[in-house]
Symmetry: C2
Subunit: 207 residues, 2 copies
Amino acid sequence: MTGIDLGNETENSIFEAALDVFSRKGKHGARMQEIADTAGINKAMLHYYFRSKDLLYESVLGHVAHHFFSALEDAMSRPGPFTDVLGQMVGVYLDMHAANPAVARLWIQENLNGAPVAERILKQRKQSGAPGPHRLMRRIEQAVDAGEIKPTEPIQLMITVLGMTVMSFISQPTMKTLDPAAMADQAAFLKRRKKHIVEVLTHGLAS
Amino acid sequence: MTGIDLGNETENSIFEAALDVFSRKGKHGARMQEIADTAGINKAMLHYYFRSKDLLYESVLGHVAHHFFSALEDAMSRPGPFTDVLGQMVGVYLDMHAANPAVARLWIQENLNGAPVAERILKQRKQSGAPGPHRLMRRIEQAVDAGEIKPTEPIQLMITVLGMTVMSFISQPTMKTLDPAAMADQAAFLKRRKKHIVEVLTHGLAS
DNA sequence: ATACGTTTTAACCATATGGTTAATTCATCG
DNA sequence: CGATGAATTAACCATATGGTTAAAACGTAT
């Protein structure tokens, strides 16, 4: 489901369950018993494999970050004009989160909580040169310098892309009560969503 | 701080504390004791005024929704071309969340949790004709019909605006580790943020 | 078969948590 | 003042929660 393999059947089921529960309830709201039940295993196994709630959370966040940034790096590095690259990235974001919305939820949860764990992970990845958002910032700078897009603060564009994509998933419960018809077919909705995002990013909505 | 007054000093302090704690930890992760400590009152007062955790949460969400939608309605209803109205709305979003980021966090928390409480509130507001997002959807439709903006699904634009504005606040912990300089001065950042959002919404970033 | 290390389980423990209650303080009015 | 009702507090309760442990089940190499 996530494409992340810890090498052990039980460990994997714990991982997936933990990702799901943490992403919905947050680090503090998640219950070890619920994670165990979701994974279909004895609660003691959580501690056997991950020692404590804190470490389980940290492990989940770390693996998810690695997986996510690797995919992003891949989309980012493809050749072609930057507007195409933007389209690729939007596509990757939407596809990844569609395949597993828990990832986006977890990242949001971290930020609601002040992102202390994510901060450590990001700094470490930056220092070790691993794929991460800092590379994307550089890429945006280059695109601006090359005149491929209007002068834009990299961080503004990052927040914008992140907002337009991630919010598609996060806001779904609210949006479903607002316009059930538009949200009924998830695949179709995401297809229109991607088109909309790319249109806005490149040409805006003014007629 | 929120502009919401329940008519009683103690009740107000509980309300503010609850909003803050719920928005950070979520409904499940929030602890009654922490809310009481934040408010600087005895824990029993929470139950004296709001009976239970569930009802306290519901009360907070309800009042916040009313306050928020009223302000939105106000910005939405001003005359002038729709692109201007969009700018107004973006400004209102950014200003409101800047004044009290807990509101945005709380709404996100609700959605991460499937938004069962928000759903009830929204349906009720729609039925009673109170200000709410359904009015904004109509306004977008009108703008499209009048040719003021390109043909756009109302819900797409709503998610886009919401994403670009709300994400400015939600992602701050992550962004601060990514580009501390850009985020250091909150007011200046938000000023640039608004300009960026309006530019993207109207003309896009292609040079 | 059996000995040995690993995985899994059920029972258990100390503490945290939502909620209650009886007693106390406080304000107000006669 | 003294009485009456609302606001506030400290102590308490039943249960939930993160975490531990000793024993059982399992796999496997000899």
